[in-house]
Every structure is written in structure tokens, then in C-alpha cells.
Symmetry: C2
Subunit: 328 residues, 2 copies
């Protein structure tokens, strides 16, 4: 399996990514929600990545990775391990280039998510539900097929691609004082940090993280990656452990983590549903939850929020009791 | 109660309305949903009026009416009868001008909708649940307070205001072949017809109407208003009977009604939720349902759709079984 040594992406890589994905990705709208401004006491600008192709910002990074490959590299396709938005995003990105995509998925993966991946034409490969098994299966598929690994977040091409969401938002002429993004593996966070450095260094970066998966907060506090946290959160998109290069970029950028509990996240999600009319997934609501939790800190500021994705199943959330209190 | 003889609005009135409401109303975004294009076989451009203030296009007409009043007229406030989006819209519009708003509501009105109206500062007046009682109560409030009646749809100022949604959409440079809007009382439909005549006369106007409240289809077919239909539909925003001036405008414009059953509407609503990530109310989905029902007719066209509102209670819809089949 071809691999590449990790060289941290620079701002030029984010600009190159923006040009590379432009023919394929949506320039998503920035939404304003007046009643949420009143609640939060600041001016919120929502970058609507749940309206991105594939329903999440993940398509940006996946698309940049796929279209970064030279023709010989690209021919055998790409491979990754993911049962969530990255798997679907890579499958869709590969489809835009007409190359194969292999996705290694754990045996316990949710059927609906796998259906989304196969709907975009990718091939599934089952493995046991642990990281070692996933990585081994991924390597085996890569060796057998020659497919290039596209890691969900610890990949320079992916990070540069994710940074294009913040690039668009920062270039919208708002003059943001702060930018808040959800953090799981840190692909979005790291890309956002690089975009901020290139466009608007005075904008402060905050990482919204579920209290039940707060390895980023712990890592930044300790000054070294904490990798032994077992995630437990309703935010299925934020259970990954912060990647090593992602940590380095975020620490160097002075990013600050804000942890939010699931109750706060679900309350924020209901606000986005009811007031904003946007059907976002729980992970997406962590950023709004963080702002509402620390009102004094954001008071009067112009705040950007990246809504990360909208791949939610209202039926499942209802069954899980997550919508209690959701009456209008 | 001051009233005014009905003079049908002209295109100049729509332009004047646009200027009048600009400081208060949102210029809502036009959303594209690639996967729905694929399903429908045409290019759909959604005017997102569920993101309008108050959660529906109704704010445009109410705002135009409120700001059309001269200071003496305005001072005693406005009055209307409505238990739905128009009541809330008029309350909000009155608040933007700092004048009183009286809303006559039937005894059986839904508590949540009344809460929205009072949250904007309006005064509620209860009456029996029939049209005669509503109109009598409205007249009584008007006589006692001097408030000006703002009818939900059979009002030239309201019609001109509703037309501004289509005005923005038609001026977006898309070159629409067809425009599809939901129809109840016909305020949106009539305003849209006037905007089309002024901006893009070759664009065809279609009215999406619930099969269980299809008085507009019957009226256009017969060439005279049909007023004896008892509505039965999940689309709570489309149960009103087509207004007399609205009928005249729509008939003269050659608008065509397409009736859709509630099952088709709810299926379209689920598509807007799941694919579009937009939490719209059932009434809003009739237009998409109409396009999906008549695929051949719209094949390959550039089609505009006005998403009328987003004031929906997912919990209530779930309880009513409307979300069955909503699994991703």
C-alpha cells in the first residue's frame, strides 16, 4: 500500500485544496438565526456543512485526497477504515474520479451507514471491531489492490481539505472574533487552524468536544496526547482519538477546547432543529452548546460555527429518548 | 374598523413591498439539493422561506401591510384572525413597528401556536371555532380598538408582500421554466403570479394543493370559486378556502393546480428532511410532491419551489405516525 510521510499542511495547501475540490464540492451557505443570536448574546454565523455533498464537511478532505493523486496512484483506487461520514465521503469522492474505493468496516457497524457507503459504489470489507484489526485489514486491502490509504483525519491532504470550510467562512467578510468547530480526530480542527493562520490570525479557535470523549481537552491540558480514553457520547462523529499531527497543529495554534455534556449538546441540537430548521446530527451541535455554555466569554462577539454534518436518523434519536423536550 | 376596498396589486406594488420590508425581512437563501435533482429529473431551486423571520413567508405580507399604514392608521394597531403562521407573522410585524396586534383565535386552537403568537407580544381574543364567529370577533375588536384588519390572504398589501419571495427567486439569475408554490388561501400564489408577470412572463406557475382541500383546483376547473369543501389534510397551513381576489388573479394568470395526496406530501417532506436536512412543515412539501408526481412534465426543466414554512413539531408528527418510514 503506498503511503506518505506526514508533512504538516501549510496555508498554500488549503488554497490548493480549495481550487482542487471546487468542481466537485458545494460552497455551502452561511446561515444566520436571529433567535439563536438573542439566546446566545452574540452574532452566530453557521457554515452549513450539513449541506455539503455526502451530508458532512468530510467530503472536502476526501475529495482533496482523491484528486491529489497522480493518475498512476489513482488508478487502483483508495482505501480507508471508517463506519461513519468519512467512509461515505471517500466513496463519493472516489466516484467523482471514477476510481475504486474500499472501506474497512467493523462487524458491529450500523447497517444504515453501510448502506450509504455502498450506495456511492464502494466495496465493504468486514473486520473485527477494534483499531488493530481495522488497520491490519486496511493494510491488507491496500497491499492486495494497490489502493492508497486515505486516513480519516491524520492525513495532510485530508486536513488541508477540511480547512477549506473555514477558508470560505473567513473570506465571507464577517470579521469573525472566534471560530468554534467540533473535534473528534481533529481533521477539521487542524485544517481550520491553518486557514485561520492564513486569513485572519486574530480569530480565536475553539474546539467543542463531548465530555464523554474529551481526549483533546486532556491532551492540550497535559501538553501531550492522551490516548486511553474510552469514548461514551451520543456524538457518534466525535468518538475518534485526536491524531498525532492534528494534536501538534492544534497545540501550536493555541486552540482551546471546551467540553460539553451530551444533555447540553442535545438541547443545542433541538434549537438548531426548531429555531434554525436545520436537521443536524448531534456532533454538529457541540459547537453551539459550547457557546451557550460559556455565554460571558462570547458575549457581543462575531462567532463562526461549522455545522459539521446532518447524517442523523430522527427515528433512532426519538427511540433513544434524545428528542424528549422537543415539543415546539 | 378601518377597511379598504380591494384593488388588485400590480407589479409596482410588489417592488414597493420589497423596498418596504427590506429592513425587517430576511432575503432567504436559494438551496440546491443534488440528490433531489436526481430523483426528480429536473433542476430544483428551493427558496427557503422556512428560514424567514417567524419561520414562514407569511412575514413578508404581514410586514408589508403593517409598514404600509400611515402613522394615524398604525397607531391603534392591527387585528386579524388566524391560529397559524399568519397570526404569528402579524404579531412579529407589529412588533417591528412597535404597534399593538390583536389576534382572534378559535377556542380549539393548538396551545403551541398560540404561545408563538403571544411570544411576539400580541393579544389573543378567543372565539368559537367557525368563520362567522371569527369575522364577527375580528370586527368587534377592530371597532373597539381602531385596529386595522390585515386579512391572512385576501388583502392587496399581503398579496404584494408574499410576491417578494418569488421576486427574489426570479431575480436570482436562474432562468426558471416553472415555479411551484403551495396554495391555501392563495396569498402566496397570487403574489407569485404578479411577480412572474413583472419579471419573467414565460415562467409557468403551478399551485400545489392537498387533495383533501382542493378547492383551488376545483375553482380553476369550474371557472368560479368553489367554497363548500371541508378540508381534511395533514397540511395545516393549506386548509383555507381560496380568496375571491386571489382566485381572480390566479385565473387571469393561467396558473395550474396540481393536487397531491397527504402520503405523497409526507414522503416529500421526509426527503426534504433527510436529503435536504431542512426541517419543513408538511404544507411546504406539497410543491416537491407535485413535481415528483408529474415527473415527465418537469423533466429537464429549471424549477423553482417556494418552501413556505418550517413551523413543525417533529414530536407531534411522530406521534401521529407521519414519520413512519423516516429511517435513514
Amino acid at each position: 500500500m503506498p503511503s506518505q510521510a506526514f508533512a504538516p499542511p501549510a496555508f498554500a495547501d488549503v488554497l490548493a485544496a480549495a481550487a482542487r475540490i471546487a468542481p466537485h464540492a458545494h460552497a455551502t451557505p452561511v446561515l444566520r438565526m436571529r433567535s439563536l443570536d438573542a439566546l446566545a448574546g452574540c452574532a452566530l454565523h453557521f457554515k452549513a456543512e450539513h449541506l455539503q455533498r455526502g451530508g458532512a464537511f468530510k467530503f472536502r478532505g476526501a475529495c482533496n485526497a482523491v484528486w491529489s493523486l497522480d493518475p498512476e496512484q489513482a488508478a487502483p483506487g483508495v482505501v480507508t477504515h471508517s463506519s461513519g461520514n468519512h467512509g461515505a465521503a471517500l466513496a463519493l469522492a472516489a466516484a467523482t474520479r471514477g476510481i475504486a474505493c474500499h472501506v474497512v468496516v467493523p462487524e458491529n457497524a450500523v447497517a444504515a451507514k453501510l448502506a450509504a457507503i455502498t450506495a456511492y459504489g464502494a466495496t465493504l470489507h468486514r473486520c473485527e471491531a477494534n483499531l488493530a484489526a481495522r488497520e491490519a485489514a486496511c493494510a491488507a486491502v491496500g497491499q492486495r489492490t494497490g489502493a492508497t490509504l486515505v486516513h480519516p483525519y491524520a492525513d495532510a491532504r485530508v486536513i488541508a481539505g477540511q480547512g477549506t470550510a473555514a477558508l470560505e467562512l473567513l473570506n465571507a467578510g464577517i470579521g469573525l472574533d472566534a471560530l468554534v468547530v467540533p473535534v473528534g480526530g481533529g481533521g477539521l480542527g487542524a485544517g481550520t487552524a491553518i486557514a485561520i493562520a492564513g486569513v485572519s490570525p486574530s480569530t480565536r479557535l475553539f474546539l467543542a468536544e463531548p465530555a464523554g470523549a474529551a481526549d483533546t481537552a486532556a491532551s492540550l491540558a497535559r501538553g501531550a496526547r492522551v490516548t486511553d480514553i474510552v469514548p461514551e457520547t451520543v456524538c457518534d462523529g466525535l468518538r475518534a482519538t485526536l491524531g498525532a499531527p492534528n494534536f501538534d497543529i492544534l497545540r501550536a495554534a493555541g486552540a482551546e477546547a471546551i467540553t460539553v455534556d451530551d444533555a447540553g449538546t442535545l438541547a443545542a441540537m433541538r434549537l438548531l432543529w426548531q429555531r434554525g430548521k436545520q436537521l443536524v446530527e448531534p456532533s454538529s451541535a457541540t459547537a453551539l452548546a459550547a457557546v451557550l455554555q460559556q455565554r460571558e466569554r462570547f458575549a457581543g462577539l462575531r462567532v463562526g460555527i461549522v455545522i459539521s454534518g446532518g447524517n442523523v436518523d430522527p427515528h433512532a434519536l426519538y427511540e433513544a429518548g434524545a428528542l424528549h423536550g422537543a415539543r415546539a
